[in-house]
Amino acid sequence: MIALRRLIAVAVGLTLAVLAGAAGAGPLDSPGFAKSLTCAACHGAAGNSRSDSMPILAGMSPAYFQKQIEAYASAKRPSPEMEPYAKMVLQLGAADIARYFSEQKMLPTPVPASAAAVERGRAAAAECVICHGPDGKGDPAKLIPSLAGQPPGYLKDQMLLFKQDKRNPGDVPLKAMKTLMRSISDETYGDLAAYYSTLR
């Protein structure tokens, strides 16, 4: 009950924000709203996942969203959950759904991070900054994703997948990223994840 109360407060706030944002029009006027209804089951209202394991899609760069959907659908980014859904997104129109999520205000993850881990993560992030920027927001023009405010569990999972070459296996542009991940200890992944989850 406790966790849900927090979720209710956030979700109702989000809903009101969505409705207010539409300025009198209903949410159905945005073509991406109806097409993204399925996504909400895991990724939350308006793409603002509140759990530790599911990434937040709200505010995501549309080009990056579409690139990932294509990677999931072609199994370049292997995921038993996302491969079928990515194919569904392509059927429904990935551009509409990408635009819808990019237009939603991103609410950073509510999953707490320990202050000590955040500090250790900040100290360990020197090399991450080179691509993801000092604020962790990435570079949409280069399809480098924002890490800021994403759930720490999700971030840590992705670092492990990079290390094991299970995310986009064999992908040439990601080679440097994977080499970097192999030079970092698993404990530091937790620290980096904590740090980036707290960036705004």
Binding site: L19, L28, C42, E81, L92, G153
Partner: protein, 426 residues
């Protein structure tokens, strides 16, 4: 382990009819004015959608109609005061989760402006577009029926008269608590028998996840006990290979396929299949199922008298105009009877209802299915199905299974549950 005891359950649900009446009066804006549910006890103030059943499908539909068009009044009829999640309830049987952790308030729906009446819908009068409740009725412009499943007690001899002793625990609630208690009280060396009904039934992998959970609990707490599974089907119905693999960790499971239960006798603690008799210490008999009673009474079921056929885009009944049926009661779509599918149908039917009430065509939106099963206290497996609409029909695009059980899948299962509970209720 169970913080929510059976006594507390009975206490919280026992207020029943009296509170239901109060609830109806206050939501109708008649608070303080003595009233009862007679005649048109809650006159329509705007275009109105009535939703029958506040489970995964109905609660979602009620919320999304309000979200998509707040000018539409939504009245939800649901006798239970709290929502108890069937997904994850098998973990209560093994003591891994508490009832409290799968029990949620309906307050989130109220914040969306859904008017909740804690009553059963007594009948549907489709010719007059109204639902009978108590001695009165509610008018509707469109009706969403999400009554879940009802058990076919008569299919198993001795079951109807022993419903209090032979538990199904297939609707999470007091029976979940009681079955957990029976399993915990069973002596080491005792035999737990679980029976799987013939397809179609609610939650295809559910019985097999339950077998994992009980076997895990017994292995760790009553190592001399065993689990006998009497499956009416020829093989494990869902995630077959993954469950077979998981069961290798549980030598205490004795699985018997093609063993349809035809009778049960609590006085001798014996369950009968077509060919055999099996003694039990604790029985969990999951009966054969059909659509919820109101769907049968309202003539929404097809020739099989069990399930409801619907339009694959709007979820409008093929038999009754203006009535949409969603969730486990439906048939004819290539989708499992799962909470995730019911949630998807809730959103799609809400979108169809809102579109149609505003004179627009309903968009063609397919459902999706994400289904996790816990094979121990920390590992899970999953199956995902995605769909498209082709020539007005739901067609599967793809089904994918996780390659193996893992802790990482279990973490995503937790994330899924947290998200979807909120999608249904918050």
């Amino acid at each position: 382990m169970n913080r929510f005891t059976r006594r507390e359950f009975l206490k919280s649900s026992g207020a029943g009819v009296g509170l239901g009446l109060l609830g109806a009066a206050s939501v109708a804006g008649l608070g303080g004015c003595a009233t009862s549910m007679k005649g048109d006890f809650m006159p329509k103030s705007a275009r109105r959608v009535v939703v029958i059943g506040g489970g995964w499908g109905g609660a979602t539909a009620a919320k999304y109609v309000r979200m998509e068009d707040p000018s539409i009044e939504v009245v939800l009829l649901e006798p239970n005061k709290e929502f108890i999640s069937c997904p994850f309830s098998n973990l209560v049987l093994s003591g891994v989760r508490t009832m409290d952790s799968i029990t949620f308030s309906y307050d989130g729906l109220r914040k969306h402006g859904v008017k909740i009446i804690n009553e059963m819908a007594a009948a549907i009068e489709s010719d007059r577009k109204r639902v009978r409740v108590g001695e009165g009725y509610l008018e509707y412009d469109r009706l969403v029926v999400s009554p879940g499943v009802e058990f076919q007690w008569e299919q198993v001899e001795g079951l109807a008269q022993n419903q209090d002793k032979v538990l199904h625990a297939w609707k999470a609630g007091p029976q979940t608590v009681e079955l957990a208690r029976q399993i915990q009280s069973m002596a080491d060396g005792g035999v737990f028998v679980l029976t799987v009904p013939p397809v179609a039934y609610r939650c295809p992998p559910g019985p097999y996840e339950r077998i994992c959970q009980v076997a895990w609990y017994l292995k760790n707490n009553k190592p001399r006990s065993k689990v006998i599974v009497l499956d009416a089907n020829q093989n494990i119905v869902s995630k077959t290979g993954l469950f077979r693999e998981a069961w290798k960790a549980y030598p205490n499971i004795d699985y018997r396929a093609s063993s349809k239960v035809v009778g049960v006798d609590p006085s001798t603690r014996e369950v009968r299949t077509e060919f055999d008799k099996v003694k039990y210490d604790v029985i969990n008999l999951i009966p054969p199922q059909r659509a919820g009673t109101i769907a049968v009474q309202a003539d929404l079921v097809g020739a099989d008298k069990r399930w409801c056929e619907v339009n694959h885009v709007t979820y409008e009944s093929v038999k009754q105009k203006g009535i949409h049926v969603i969730g486990d009661s439906t048939i004819g779509l290539p989708v499992p009877k799962s909470g995730n599918v019911a949630n998807a149908m809730g959103k799609i039917s809400a979108t169809a209802v809102v579109s149609l009430l505003n004179g627009k065509p309903a968009p063609a939106l397919p459902p999706g299915n994400t289904c996790y099963s816990w094979v121990s206290d920390r590992e899970a497996i999953a199956v995902v199905n995605s769909y498209k609409i082709e020539n007005g029909k739901v067609v599967q695009i793809e089904q994918k299974l996780t390659p193996a059980q893992s802790v990482s899948v279990a973490q995503r299962a937790l994330g899924w549950a947290e998200s979807i509970w909120s999608d249904v209720l918050a």
